[in-house]
Structure formats: C-alpha cells, structure tokens
Symmetry: C2
Subunit: 444 residues, 2 copies
Amino acid sequence: MTQDAPMGVGVIGFGTIGTGVVKLLASNADVIASRLGFPLRLARVADLDTARDRGVDLRGAPFDSDANALIDDPAVHLVVELIGGYDASRRLILRALGRGKPVVTANKALLAVHGKEVFEAARRGGADVAFEASVGGGIPILRALREGLAANRIESLHGIINGTTNYVLTQMEQGGEPFEVVLKRAQELGYAELDPSFDVDGVDAAHKITLLASMAFGAEVPFKEVPVEGIRDVTPLDIEMAAEFGYRIKLLGITKRRVDDAGRERIEVRVHPTMIPADSLLAKVDGAMNAIAVHGDAVGPTLFYGAGAGEMPTASAVVADLIELAREVRRGSTGRVAPLSTLPEALVPKPLVPLGELHGRLYLRFTAQDRPGVLSHITGQLGRHGISIESVIQKGRGHAGASVPVVVFTHPASEAAVRKALEAIDRLPDVTAATRVVRIEEEL
Amino acid sequence: MTQDAPMGVGVIGFGTIGTGVVKLLASNADVIASRLGFPLRLARVADLDTARDRGVDLRGAPFDSDANALIDDPAVHLVVELIGGYDASRRLILRALGRGKPVVTANKALLAVHGKEVFEAARRGGADVAFEASVGGGIPILRALREGLAANRIESLHGIINGTTNYVLTQMEQGGEPFEVVLKRAQELGYAELDPSFDVDGVDAAHKITLLASMAFGAEVPFKEVPVEGIRDVTPLDIEMAAEFGYRIKLLGITKRRVDDAGRERIEVRVHPTMIPADSLLAKVDGAMNAIAVHGDAVGPTLFYGAGAGEMPTASAVVADLIELAREVRRGSTGRVAPLSTLPEALVPKPLVPLGELHGRLYLRFTAQDRPGVLSHITGQLGRHGISIESVIQKGRGHAGASVPVVVFTHPASEAAVRKALEAIDRLPDVTAATRVVRIEEEL
C-alpha cells in the first residue's frame, strides 16, 4: 500500500453515532485528507438491524450483521465499536486488537470496568485503542489530559459530564418544576432515555469520572468503589435555596489529589449533585452541554466546553481518533501515547478517600413537623456534633402538624460528623423524612 | 542511547518563561517520566544576561550567553527558544532545525510573519517545531485544532487571546475608569508592559489570530493584511452602553469561513473590540484569562479556557511540547502532524474578506454639539445610506454648545454603507469628533 492510498474504516453499530461517523467521513473527506495526507474511506458496516433506513449513502460499502466478518475483512484497517454494553463489545474489541487492528470506541462503561484488559490486549496486539468520544462527546478532553496538560501534576477535575442530567437540572431551574415532570418531558423530546436510570442515577457520569481520574492521576481506579449519587432527590426548593445563596446545582464528576502529612497520596473520586458558585464558568454550562474544569499545578485553572453527546459531536471525536490511529498505522508507529496518559507499568492503585473524610460546606434540607422547638432540636444536634451553622432558613409554614422543610447551610464541617448528627436528627420524632445533603464546592 | 535514557533540553532565553520551564522540568520530573517513559533533563541554558539570579537551581547545567554553542552541544537534543522577536530568534531556530534538532518556541510574532520559512526549515531538517505556548498560554488550543477537532470543517473562531487587554477592559468595567488610568495601574502591577502598544493596539492578538486562522482553515494568511484595532479608544461610556443592551466589550481575535454563491471560499480574519452577549461563556472570561470559542461543523460550539500568559502556565505548554517532541525523537518519527494542521502542500492562500463586506449590528458613538436638530441630521444620514436604527440614546445634556455623546445601535447593516454614512456625518458642523464604531457579534 502506498503512503497516500486510502485507509479503510469498519463501523460496528449503525445507530445514531455510527450514522454520524458515516456522514462525517463523507462530508469532510477533503478536510480529513488534507490533514492526514490520504483519505479515510468507509469500508464496511455491521449492525444487527440491517433493515432500518438511516438515510445515509454507504457509497457501496458492504453492510450486514456480521461484526466478526467485518473485523476480519482485509479492507477494514481501522475498527469503530459503537454498540456499547459490556459483552459483545468487549469480545469484538478484543478480537480486533488481537488481529492487530486499531479500535476506536465510545464505550466508557466497558473501559471503566474492563479498561485494563482492553489496554493490555491493545499492547499485546500492537494496535492502539482510542476513546476520545467516551467522555465529553466532542470535547477533546482526553487528548488535553494526555498531551496538552502532560507537564502538569493534575490537582483536581470537576466535570459536567452527563448531558441528560444537566438538561434536566437546567429545565428544573428555569421552570421551577419537579424532577419527574421535567424528566418526562425530556424523555418525550429525546433528551432522556426511556429507561433513564443510567443517566439520572449518575452511573454514566461515574464511568466517565473513573476514566478521567485514571488519566489525571495515573491511578487504577476501581469503578465499583466510586461513590455515586444521582439527581432524583433534587427538588425545586434545593435549586431555589442554592440560587438565594449564590450557587447553582450541577451533577458533577469530581476527582482530586490529596497528599497527607506522611506524603501518602490518595484520590477523591465521586459523582453527586453539587452546589457551585453561580459566577463560576462551570455554573454557566446549561442544557445538554458538557464542560470539564481541570486544575493543573503549572497551568492553573482550565476549562473545556462543548456538546457532550449527539450524533455529530460524538462523531467528531470518533473521526478525530480515526485520523490519529490512521496516522500511526501508516507510519508503523503504534503505542505512541499511553492510553491512560501514564505508562501502564507506572499505573498504580491509589486509595480512594472515603466520603466521611471530606471536609466542606454542606447544604442540609430537613423535613420536620412545623412545631415549636423542632428547630432547636435540629440545631442542637448539629452543635453537639461540632457542626457550625452559617444560615438557617425555614421556608413557608404549613398548617398545624404539617411537615415543612428546614434548610441549613453549614460552615466547613467534617462529613463524618455531619452523618452522625443526621443519624440522630433523623430519629427525632418531629423529623418526618430523611435529611437531604448537597455538597458545596467553592473553589471553581 | 537506550530507550529510557534521559533526553537533554537546552533553553535559550532565561527570562520569566525560561525560568518556569527550568522549574517545571525539575518539579514534575516524576510525572513527566511516568508519561514519557524516560526523563527530560535540563542540559544547558543560554541568555545574554548571565548575572541576574533567577532563584532556580540549574542542577549543574551549564549556563552562558552562547546560544549557538547550546544548539551545537551534543548534550542538547531539544531546543527551547524563548527570546522572542524576529531576528536572533529566527536565526537560532533555523540553526537548530538545520542541525536536525527539534525546537519548541512561544514566538507567535516570528511564526505569524516568517512561519512558512520556519516550517519549511523544519521539514528540510527532519526536525519538528512546536509552538503551543505561542497562543493562549497554557491552553492546549493548537493541539485541539490540529488533532482534537481534526475531523471538523472549522466554521468560526472567536478568541480572547491577549491577557493584558482583557485585564484592562475588565478593570475599566468594574471601576468605571478610563483606559489611561487603568493602563497605568496595570503597568504598576506588572499586568502591562512599560511599552504597552504591542498588547493594547492589538498587534499581539493579530499575530495569534493569524496562526489560528491558518490552522483552522488550512490557509496561508498574510499577517500584514489582517485588520487590527486596539482598545485605546474604548471609553467607560461604551462599556456602560454595552451593559445596558446586554453586552460586554472584549478585544477579540475573530476568524470565519465564508463561501459565496459561486462556491469561492474566503476567510475573515480580524482583531477589534467587540460587543458580545453578556450571557455567553466568552463574556464571562475576566481579568488576564484567555478563552477561545471554536465552532466546528460537526462538533458545534466549543470553548477552551485558561491562563493566557504567565510563568508557569506558559511553561506548562512549552514542556507539553517538549514531551511530544521527545517522544517523536526517541521513536525516530518526526513530522507526525503538520504544524499548521493542514499538510504544507495543501495549504493555500485564501482571500481575506474586506471589512466593508461585513454585515452585522454595530454600535456607533457620535460626538456632537448638544443642539436641536443634530439628532435628526445624524439619523437622517444613516437612513439615507439604508442603515436601520434599533436604538438611539442621548446620555446626559451638556451646557449650551458643549459636545455630548449620542449612541446608536443599528440593525444588521453593511459596514461599507455605515462607513459612507459616517464620512458624511463626521463632516456635519455639529459633529465635533470622529464617530466610534464597535462591532457586535451575536452568535456566541
């Protein structure tokens, strides 16, 4: 094959993103070739559903349901895996890498859980695996961590990395409507899946922050140990209270580096609704958009913003990866950059900081009978556990005996102490529902 | 040399950035080696001023004033050029490339004006030249354009790419003070140079937008033809009026792709104070921070934010480039990515769109005698040239015969027509000073 011969791309999974990839390879063929030095050409497509019309021209590329045959097809030099999930995708990716064919995937779930196996297979197969599309859609955040900020010791990363939940929270904020109402509308509009739990319970964000934490800190991060909280329990009152105190509530993936006095390095990795200063850039990220704020010791604060999902933005990331891998294949030069930024042999497990050790301001929403003395019981328990209160707000009054919310903003407090206080408070006879906690991140 | 032997870095120019590079190579040596697979080691430093104490430990690396000897030193594998300017820097870069030694530079002025010669020398010498630090300080924006967004046809780019002017404008806004007062304070604080013209007259931003436009559009951009306007004429009144109409004023580098009906592609490249929607992300970028909003046809809107200058942020970009070039040297694989993203042979001159052809809303500030009938003369001339007015504001009234500002926001108008109208208006006997024009960019 000559240096400027076209290189063949096989696409497994012909859904929304796959369709975008096919479109983009055609529509921007000239741009891609002018950057790469040779064309990328769609060589073959595989999907179980071969009947549905995706409305794109395959320009003669074979299309059937046989993903294995696609991988083995000598016309396919680069494999794109877009079927998602854990099983079939894993098997297909390993097959391709085993045959020395580089793989581009958007599968964060697989990489967060089975990344080690996949990267090891890539190394053994002498083929690269690229996954820019798996986090932040079209935002080139993985490249930024791996190369652009490679000279930095990363200190922290805060990301709005799930578009569905950011869309729902933004809508709740704008309309003052409860979660369920907004979610239903989001489902009707296609912004949320029919089974939304993967998004709204924070699982998708947890997959992504697991990958980001690995890259940021050169750490093996056990996905199952990452604490995750979704947005189902966020209420319009929480959002209103946040606004009153100068915050907005965002579902964030957060990861930070912590070094204790003995020099031991541990990392925080977590996903939860978070109050962030309303005047921070991250707070301005609305609707389905994503953004990742990265703080490096040399570069200081940075932020990367863009569409976190969608047909063409995600295809943008997939095809950027194809361009990079095509370059490596043609130059006979794979394994240029370590997939998780740190060389595999230098990746080490780093202990996670337990939530109880977090120390920061907290928003607490109590639900209590509207009776004299309740407030003093609650604040008394907080005081007894050493938690200092910044503000207490009792919003509205119910009829006699009704439950009302009581909102407390604490001064910086140990989360373990707060949990203990809440155990006691939630047992008070006048407290009628479990207390809700929203963490506050000030430094953004 | 074995695969994990250290690689030697020679730093020419031991000022602020050079000092940052020396510090970073030492402080993050472990992180760098864990990503690269071998250490980067400071091998030699050259600067004309060998007397001043920079307060950093050179760890035995030789330091003298002989930049040529540094380049020729076999212990130096990678050369960092940080002296700036056109002449000595050009000579040194060409010398290094001619000897096959890769070069990292932050010199946007040189690359904007002599880029072609430098990139050609790199190709001939079989050595790479990297320049991430030349635009946006620590923000990895060049990598994003070259690789992360490589699958896109870039549509537009709007950048706050000069920290000094953004600092001055932010301060003017916060204190309502005139340009000269704020500039003086900025100079005292070290945010502006003693000779500030390079920054405040937009020249620095013009160098950067020239490079960005080349990368975005695969175009040879003649720096000298880029229209440039600085911020000296921006007044507190302009800033106040902008705020009243929902805008903020930022000095932007702007570049856009335009295709006319005949399919001919031309590009807009310009630097000027610009009113942008106050609720856009770019408008929230305050102080000395930089941000670049890039719109790609597939990815849609993106934004890259971070420190645009300063010792350690700029060193972050320089050392990231060193890591990349070290990798290529060790793999014997230079020229991986075209320096301007598009392959040199595919780079073509693309005609610039003249300012007269711009079409958009404009802010006009007239200075006129406060006499009856003046307003009707001004608006009459605008009407005669087909310019439709959205709002007219006459702020305050002077004593009889004094000059007062009259502010007009136009509907979208042809800039050529506006210029013609202004020629007529500025000749009116009651108009006592040249009319100021600020362009408005809505789509951000």
